[in-house]
């Protein structure tokens, strides 16, 4: 229901939610319009943070940094639904506000927004207004921000707030359902490709995974499966069993040439994997097994043992879901896996500085650029940027489109022949 709403509709919605921050902000604006003398306005653009940093718990903590000024006379703070924060205060408090802003910035210092400047050299993180002089600009900025905040909320809905959370109690019931689950209709696959210097793509492998969204629709439409990450991880251990079960109920000949699977490390020592291993037989080289960093660091001894065991059988081991940020902290190749997946994100994006690019190229080179796969690739730009860094392996929505084009082309040339 992503229909476009016109401004007046959105405004009506703001006004009808009398206790909403957006409405209170606009009410305050009316008051300030008559009393702007000696007042300043501060707009903190937290809505422009990276997606990973736009979390309700982060914003709550950031809001708390304002506590000392919130209780002061004549200061008003509004946290909008899109996470932007707007503060109005007497201009005499600029020093205090500056201190607070420095704390908020340091909270988000891993986010590129903090350092970013727009074309005119202005900070992207915060905009200051002298209400005596710039009231009209402030009003315009605030109203359009309130509108877009509310519109977003109306069009996409407050995500997951009404859903039940995953708890040990409902997990118990879910686990039972999961154990009998037929994974086949929920299986999806996504291709990873190698892109050569000539721009030609070549299929590397297909990742088989269970669609969590479809799974939820099928078994627990009212429960937010991702609300508790540990309990969700537990569910994935059961999914592992179901996926392995499903795969060994067909023939290796029916599977694509190379496939990858996401598994928990613990799963490797279960009977399900033993049976799968027998089923795979001498075809282990066709299979890549993907493990999560959190799983690896929860018991590195187990990982090392499993990795060696799998590699000696001929399987390939892949470390999944590395945040680009991780490269600032350690060299993943110390994990001695065959492949490393790094998620495409802002830090890898075109916004990075030339020095940043050089550093990233060096890091990727030291991991071994042939072992790195950039995932979540959603645009041609991402691929171009990856190639620039020396990476040749990619996965993501954009790659899916490439693969589609490749297959149609292949089919056409077959027809033509």
């Amino acid at each position: 229901m992503a229909q476009k709403l016109i401004d007046s509709q959105v405004m009506r919605a703001i006004r009808s939610d009398t206790n909403g921050s957006e409405n209170k902000l606009l009410e305050n604006l009316q008051y300030l319009e008559k009393n702007p003398v000696g007042q300043c306005g501060v707009h903190i653009h937290l809505s422009q943070l990276q997606r990973t940093n736009k979390r309700a718990d982060y914003i709550r903590i950031a809001e708390r940094v304002f506590d000392p000024i919130k209780i002061a006379h004549n200061c008003e703070l509004f946290v909008l639904e899109n996470f932007d924060i707007i503060l109005t205060a007497p201009s005499t408090r600029i020093g205090d506000i500056d201190k607070i802003l420095a704390s908020v910035k340091s909270l988000f210092k891993a986010d590129p927004l903090v350092e970013r400047r727009d074309a005119t050299g202005e900070e992207s993180f915060v905009t200051w207004y002298d209400l005596e002089e710039d009231f009209e600009y402030f009003k315009e900025a605030v109203v359009s921000c309130a509108l877009s905040s509310k519109r977003q909320n109306l069009e996409f809905g407050a995500s997951g707030l009404e859903d039940d959370k995953l708890t040990p109690k409902n997990l118990d019931q879910l686990a039972r359902v999961f154990r009998k689950l037929d994974a086949r209709p929920l299986m999806r696959n996504q291709s990873a490709v190698q892109i050569g210097a000539n721009g030609q793509g070549q299929l590397l492998f297909r990742e088989f995974y269970v669609s969590i969204a479809d799974l939820r629709k099928k078994v627990a439409p009212e429960i937010d499966l991702l609300a508790d990450r540990w309990l969700f991880q537990y569910l994935t251990t059961i999914l592992d069993q179901r996926v392995l079960h499903m795969l060994r109920n067909q023939s290796m000949d029916d599977l694509p040439k190379n496939i990858s699977l996401n598994l928990n490390i613990q799963t490797i020592s279960t009977k399900d994997f033993q049976l799968f291993d027998q089923f795979v037989g001498d075809q282990a080289h066709r299979i890549i097994l993907e493990f999560q960093p959190v799983d690896i660091f929860s018991n590195i001894f187990a990982f090392v043992e499993v990795r060696d065991q799998l590699q000696s059988r001929g399987y390939k081991v892949l470390v999944d879901a590395l945040q680009p940020l991780v490269l600032d902290f350690f060299d993943p190749s110390m994990l001695e896996a065959d492949f490393y997946k790094i998620a495409w994100g802002d830090r890898l994006g075109g916004s990075a500085t030339p020095e940043g690019q050089n550093e990233m190229r060096e890091l990727i080179h030291s991991i071994g650029s042939t072992n790195v796969i950039i995932t979540h690739v959603d645009s041609e730009e991402a691929v171009r940027f990856g190639l620039l860094l020396g990476v040749q392996k990619f996965q993501g929505f954009f790659v899916d489109r490439l693969v589609e084009a490749m297959t149609t082309k292949a089919a056409q040339s077959l027809k033509g022949a």
Binding site: I61, S103, P168, L171, D228, I296, F297, I300, M334
Partner: protein, 429 residues
């Protein structure tokens, strides 16, 4: 992952005895030959307890093998005590036919070795034990039904969502105050190894929790359900601490927290109630898996709590993950490195790697934890580590307290003596 088994610890120990063979004896109790009913786990434990005093006094070392046999190596001075212990064990198993056989040929129940003369034989025996143990593990295949049943029996029932739910319910009503344990992190100085506490870790004893609320359940069988449980415990610890008066908590303390807990409103509430000055006395211990599970969340939480004045320690680091922990970039005040005998017995390469990593981390920022032997502390001190924690540290503290009491007693006695002398001299006059 299981730590080193007793067989390989025995082999390690025997190897290290090479230069200290003199004046030591070894006795091997063949408890594996007892009738099955007589060698249940608790039988073996009670038998082993007979040697506990000597182990604590560092008179000897005990190994309880997988087949229930017990091996005790001790200094000659302790012979009298050992004989008493043997009498106790004989009494304990008096009903078993093995002990009458013992009378017949004197060999069925126990075998004596003189470490100096029989050294080679002992090494060979230890080696065979290690090999046999390895084969046993490999023979059974990775997980055949029988061995997994056996393992489950040994490890306890698995933690399931249902038991976790039961536990969560029980936790709501349970009084955890008496399950809070305190273990000191100490600086250890001088040849005398005098421990000086720098702060103490407050934690809820998982084994007490299990004994009280869910006996027989292995709480760590699923890492994920366990992790969920720790978040529940975090909140309980915060509310316990929030209630305690300042005077109840003496000195600096550390508590274990999940990153998610730090970001929750529970922590916010705790932080609001804690006296600002006390924040600096609190070290927050975060598990490495939690740091790497979501690095972004760690970085945010770190800024938040450090700004409030807390200190951060990265907990659960081991010799394999140490190279991944860039303490400076992570801006952690301290890291806790778990001691493992492999650090010195796992080959030169590993030892050197660990030493290098300690240098890189900053030895003064490392706490060597789970120190259960003297060699762990020796290794740490040789490499500049100042802070230690673990069973052996607790022993040192006890020892130091004894020494202090002795000094006090002596001082009192001396004072008493001079006073009586004075009295005497007075009466003489």
């Amino acid at each position: 992952m299981s730590s080193q088994n007793q067989e390989s610890l025995f082999l390690d120990y025997v190897r290290r005895l090479e230069l200290h063979r003199q004046g030591r004896e070894m006795v091997h109790f063949h408890l594996s030959k007892l009738r099955p009913f007589n060698r249940r786990e608790h039988h073996i434990r009670v038998a082993a307890d007979a040697f506990e005093g000597m182990v604590k006094e560092l008179q000897g070392q005990i190994f309880i093998l997988n087949n229930s046999d017990i091996i005790f190596i001790f200094k000659m001075e302790a012979m009298g005590e050992v004989e008493q212990a043997i009498e106790k064990i004989k009494f304990l198993f008096g009903d078993d036919p093995l002990l009458s056989e013992d009378e017949a040929d004197g060999h069925g129940f126990k075998t004596w070795f003189d470490v100096e003369n029989d050294y080679d034989q002992i090494v060979e025996m230890a080696r065979n034990l290690v090999d046999a143990e390895k084969n046993l593990k490999n023979d059974g295949g990775a997980r055949d039904a029988k061995s997994s049943l056996l393992a489950r029996q040994e490890e306890g029932e698995r933690l399931t969502p249902r038991t976790l739910d039961r536990l969560a319910e029980a936790l709501k009503a349970a009084d955890l105050t008496n399950m809070v344990r305190r273990q000191y992190v100490c600086a250890i100085e001088g040849a005398q190894m005098v421990p000086t506490p720098t702060f103490s870790e407050l934690f809820i004893s998982i084994s007490d929790l299990r004994e009280t609320l869910l006996p027989g359940v292995n709480l760590t069988s699923s890492p994920w359900l366990f992790q969920h449980l720790t978040e529940t415990l975090d909140r309980r610890v915060l509310s316990l601490l929030g209630k305690t008066e300042e005077r109840d908590i003496t000195g600096d303390i550390s508590i274990n927290m999940n990153v998610a807990t730090l970001l929750s409103s529970d922590f916010m509430k705790f932080d609001e109630n804690v006296i600002a000055a006390m924040r600096g006395n609190i070290v927050l211990e975060l598990q490495q898996l939690d740091v790497f599970g979501d690095l972004n969340a760690y970085l945010f939480a770190r800024e938040y709590v450090k700004d409030r004045g807390y200190r951060i320690c990265i907990d659960g680091v081991n010799h394999l993950t140490l190279p991944f922990i860039d303490r400076e970039r992570l801006e952690a005040d301290l890291i806790k490195l778990i001691w493992h005998p492999d650090i010195i017995h796992g080959g030169h390469d590993l030892t050197n790697k660990v030493k290098r990593q300690i240098m890189l981390t900053g030895a003064s920022k490392v706490i060597l934890s789970r120190c259960d032997s003297e060699e762990s502390i020796e290794f740490g001190r040789e490499n500049g580590i100042k802070l230690f924690q673990g069973r052996h540290v607790e022993n040192l503290i006890a020892e130091e307290n004894r020494r202090r009491n002795m000094r006090m007693l002596k001082k009192n006695a001396a004072r008493h003596e001079t006073e009586t002398k004075k009295l005497k001299s007075l009466t003489k006059r």
